[in-house]
C-alpha cells in the first residue's frame, strides 16, 4: 500500500515538473522581445570595469548615466573617435557630472573584445574619458538593453529611467565628414536633461556594426 502511494507520488511529481518546466519556458519566451525603451526603468546591471572592479547601475543613483556600446575595430565607432566628437562629448559630460560608461559586449575572439589592460590602453590612445569601460564578454548587459550596434547609445536619467535610446547622430554613415553635419542626439538629450525638460527625440534606430555577441 505504501509502495503504491510512492509510485503515485513519483508520477504526479514527474508530470507536475514537466508541466512547470514547459510553462516556465513559455513565460521566458514571451518576454523575449523586451528591450530597454525610453520611459522604462533601465535594466539593472553589474559588470567588471577595465580595472577589474564591479560597477553597477545602483552605484550611480541620482546621476545621469550615458551608455556607449563600442568596438574599437568597427568603422562606425572609428568615425566618431577619429573625428574627436566622441571624446569631446565624453569630456563635456564629465564636466557636467554625468557618468559615461563605455560598454564592450564583443564575445571573446571577436572584433572589439578587449582585456582590461587593452581597454585602458585604447582609452589613453584615443584620449577618451569614460568614467568606466565595462567588459561584458558574455553579452548579458548588451542583451538586457537590447544593444544592437556599435555605437548604440543610451541615456539614463537621475530617476533611473531611460531618456534616450538609439543612434549617436542623424547621419547613418561611416564617413567621418558627416560628423559635423549631423545632429547629435546624445548631446541633445543631455542638454535637455540639464535644462530640466524631456528631450524631443527619445528613440531612434541605431546604426553601425552589429554587436559581436
Amino acid at each position: 500500500m505504501t509502495m503504491f502511494s510512492r509510485e503515485r507520488w513519483s508520477l504526479i511529481a514527474g508530470v507536475a515538473a514537466a508541466a512547470a518546466l514547459t510553462a516556465a519556458a513559455l513565460i521566458v519566451s514571451a518576454n523575449e522581445a523586451s528591450a530597454a525603451t525610453p520611459g522604462d526603468l533601465a535594466p539593472a546591471f553589474e559588470e567588471l570595469n577595465s580595472a577589474g572592479g564591479k560597477v553597477s547601475l545602483a552605484d550611480f543613483k541620482g546621476r545621469t548615466v550615458v551608455l556607449e556600446w563600442t568596438n574599437d575595430g568597427c568603422p562606425f565607432v572609428q568615425k566618431h573617435y577619429n573625428s574627436g566628437a566622441m571624446q569631446s562629448l565624453q569630456a563635456s559630460a564629465r564636466r557636467d557630472g554625468i557618468v559615461w560608461l563605455s560598454v564592450v559586449s564583443s564575445k571573446p575572439g571577436s572584433q572589439g573584445h578587449v582585456t582590461g589592460t587593452e581597454a585602458d590602453r585604447l582609452t589613453a590612445e584615443r584620449k577618451a574619458s569614460p568614467a568606466h569601460v565595462l567588459l561584458d564578454p558574455d553579452g548579458s548587459m548588451g542583451r538586457a538593453f537590447g544593444a544592437k550596434t556599435t555605437p548604440h547609445m543610451f541615456v539614463i536619467g537621475p530617476d533611473g529611467r531611460i531618456v534616450y535610446s538609439g543612434a549617436i547622430d542623424s547621419i547613418r554613415s561611416s564617413d567621418v565628414r558627416d560628423v559635423p553635419r549631423a545632429v547629435n542626439y546624445v548631446s541633445l538629450a543631455l542638454e535637455a536633461l540639464k535644462a530640466g525638460r524631456p528631450p524631443e527625440t527619445t528613440l531612434t534606430v541605431p546604426y553601425g556594426c552589429s554587436v559581436k555577441y
Binding site: T2, M3, R6, E7, W9, S10, L11, G14, V15, A17, A18, L21, T22, A24, A25, L26, V28, S29, N31, E32, A33, A35, T37, G73, C74, P75, F76, K107, P108, G109, S110, Q111, D138, G139, S140, R143, G146, K148, T149, S165, R172, S173, S174, D175, L203, V205, P206, Y207, G208, C209, S210, V211, K212, Y213
Partner: protein, 724 residues
Amino acid sequence: MIRTMKRFLGVCAMAASVLGVSGGALAEPVRTGHTLAELISERAAAVPGDLFLGALRLDLDDGGWHVYWKNVGDSGLPPKIDWELPEGVSVGDFTWPAPHAIPLATLMNYGYEHQLVLPFEIRLPQGATPGSEIELKGRASWLICLETCIPEQADLVLRLPVAAALAPAEASGALIADALAAAPVPLTGEAVVERTDEGFRIGILDDAVAASAPAAASARFFPDGPEIVHAAAQTVEFGPEGLSVSMTASEYAPSGETPLSGVVVVEGKDGSRKAWAVAATPAAVPAGVSGTMLSPAGAALALLPLLSLLGAAFLGGLVLNLMPCVLPVLSIKAAGLVHTAHNPAEARLHGVAYTLGVLVCFAAVGAILVALRMAGEQAGLGFQLQYPPMVAVFALIMFAVGLNLLGVFEIGGSLMGVGGNLADRGGASGAFFTGLLAAFVGAPCVGPFMAPAVGVALSQPPLTVMGVFLVIGLGLAAPFLLLSFTPAFARLIPRPGAWMAVFRQALAFPMFLTAIWLLWVLGGQTGADGVIAAVAGATVFAFGVWLAGRIGEGLPGRAVSAGVILLAVVGTALSANMITAPAEAAQGSAASGGEVSSEPWSPERVQVLQADRRIIFVDFTARWCATCQVNKKLAIETDEVKSAFAEYDVAFLVADWTNRDSVIAAALAEHQRAGVPLYLMYPASGGPPEVLPQMLTPGLIAASVRKAAGPGASEALSGRGDKL
C-alpha cells in the same frame, strides 16, 4: 575559378580602355578589399534622349561576405553612389532585388551574398551628339561584412558611346534583367495589417501569392522600416486567398494601428524566390489567408516538414539506445525487465514509469535549454555536463547505483528522492528513476537523425523545441515500453531464481565504468583536484551507507547516516564548483591526447588556413561525448586517416566543447547543430566545408580528404593572388 575569370575580364576591360578601343560601353572594374565593383549598362551604344538601364555590380568574396539591402536590419549600411554627371544626364534610384535574411547571433541583417546588381535608370539629353562619348562618374561606397565590417569605396566610370542607332550589351543586359526579375513585383491584390499581442499580423490577399503556396518552402516579410524585431521568428500561414505573417513588434513600432510596408518573399522548395512589394493598411486580417502553417520564416515547417522533423527526432531517440553513452544505464533497465517479465501488470506499470522518467528528463533538458537560449546563452545539447558540479554529482550517483546493484545497501522509504531499490525489488519509482538517468546520460549524446532534428528545432518556437525533445524521449523509451507490453517476451526469459542476483551484481560494473568515464570528464574540466574531490565524496558516501547498515533501523541512526550521505553529495558538488582549472590546460590535454597532431580551433585560425589554401578538418568534440571518443579512436586515429592527412597536408583543428564556450556554440549553431560531434572538412579551394556524418569510418574521412583536395592543385594556386 570564377574569381580568376572575373579578374581576367577586368584586366581585359582595363587594357581595352587604355588602348582606346571604342565601339562599346566601357567600364573599369575596381578591385577593393573584398569586392570587384563595376558600373554596367544594358547599352553598348546609346542614342540621344535615350532612357535605359545601368547598374552597379558588386561581386563579393565568397564565404559569407555580404552587403546590405535598403533596410539593413539590425546593423549595416546600404550601398550608394555619389554621382558626378555630365550636363543633361540624369540617373534614377536603385531598384533593389529582394533581400535575403542573414542572421548573426541574436541579430538579423537583410542583404546579399556573392553578387549584387543594383539597376538604375539613365537618361541622356536630347542634344547629345552621335559619335561623342558620355562619361558617367560616381563614387560608389558600400559596407561589406563577414563578422567584421569594412567600408569600401571605388571611383567608378562608365564610358558610353552615343550613336545614331542603339546597340545592346548582351552580357550586362542579361545581368540587369536578372536583377530586375529578382526585384519585388507590385501586388495586384490587397494587403492589410492588424495589431496582435506580439506585434503585427499582415494579411496578403492575392491570387499569385496564394498560388505560390503548394511549392512554398518558406516565406518571410522584410519591412521597409524598423517596426518589427528583425531577428524574431515569423509565423507564416497560407490560405486559399493568400498568406499571413505574424511578427513581433520592435520598440520602434508606433503604438496603435499603423500601416506597414515591405517585401514578402516566398521561397520555393526548388530554391526559387518570388517577391511582392507590400503596402498594408490597417484592417482586420480575413480568414482566407490562414490555415496552413509555414513557420517560422526561414525554416519551412508546414505540417509535413514538422512531421518529418518529429520522425527524425523519434528515430534519433530510438538509435540513442545503441549509442555508447546510454548502454550502461540501459543495463539497469534490462535487469528490471528481467525481473518483471513474469508479472505482466507490473511490467506494464514499470514500462510506463520508465517512459515517464525519460520524458520528464527530456522535458527538463528542453525547457532549460530553451530558457538558457532565451537568456542569450549559447547553450546546446550536453550543456548539463559542462558544469563540473553536475558531472561530479552524476559520477557519485553512478557509483551509488553500482553499490546498490552489488547489494552493498538497499534504499528504504526514508530516502525518497532516489526511488526504491533500483533494479530489483524497486517498483515503479525505480523504473522512473532509471528513465531519468538514461535520458540524462543520453541527452548529450548526439547520434544520427537526432543532430539535424535538434539543430533545426532550436531555431523554432519553444513549443516545437519541447515537442522535438519529448519525441526523442519517446524514441529512447520506445523499445522498453514495447517489451513491457509484449507478453511473448516473457517466455524468452528464464524463471526467476538465484541467477538474477548474480545478473544484477554483474550489472554494477558498467555503472562503475560510467563513473570512471565521468571522472575523466571532470578531470578535463577541473584537473586532478576535482577528481580527487569526487573520489573523496564517493568514499564519504560509501562510509555513509556502511554506517546506515551498522546503526540499523533506529531514527537517530538513519538521520546520522543520511547526514553523512548528504555531506558527501553536497561536498562533492561544492568542491567541484570551486575547483576551476585553467580551460587552456583542458584544451591542451584534449588536443595532445591523439596521435594525429592537431591544434586548437578558432574561426580566425580557419580563415588563416583557408587563405593558405589548406584542407582543414575540424573536430567539434567534448570529453563527455562518448560518440566523439569512439569516432576518435576508431576512425580519426587510424593509419588510413593519418596517411591521408599527411599526403594532402590537412590541418587538423580540434574544437573542444567539454567546457562552456560561446564561440564553439555559435559555430555549431551556424551549421544548425546544437551539440557535438560535428565534423567539417574545408576544401583546399576555399568555400564552405563538407559536413561529415556523426558516425565516422576511416574510409569516409579519407574519401572526404581526397574530395576536398579538388581536381588539381593548379586551380588552388591560381586563386591565391585574390587574397593580396
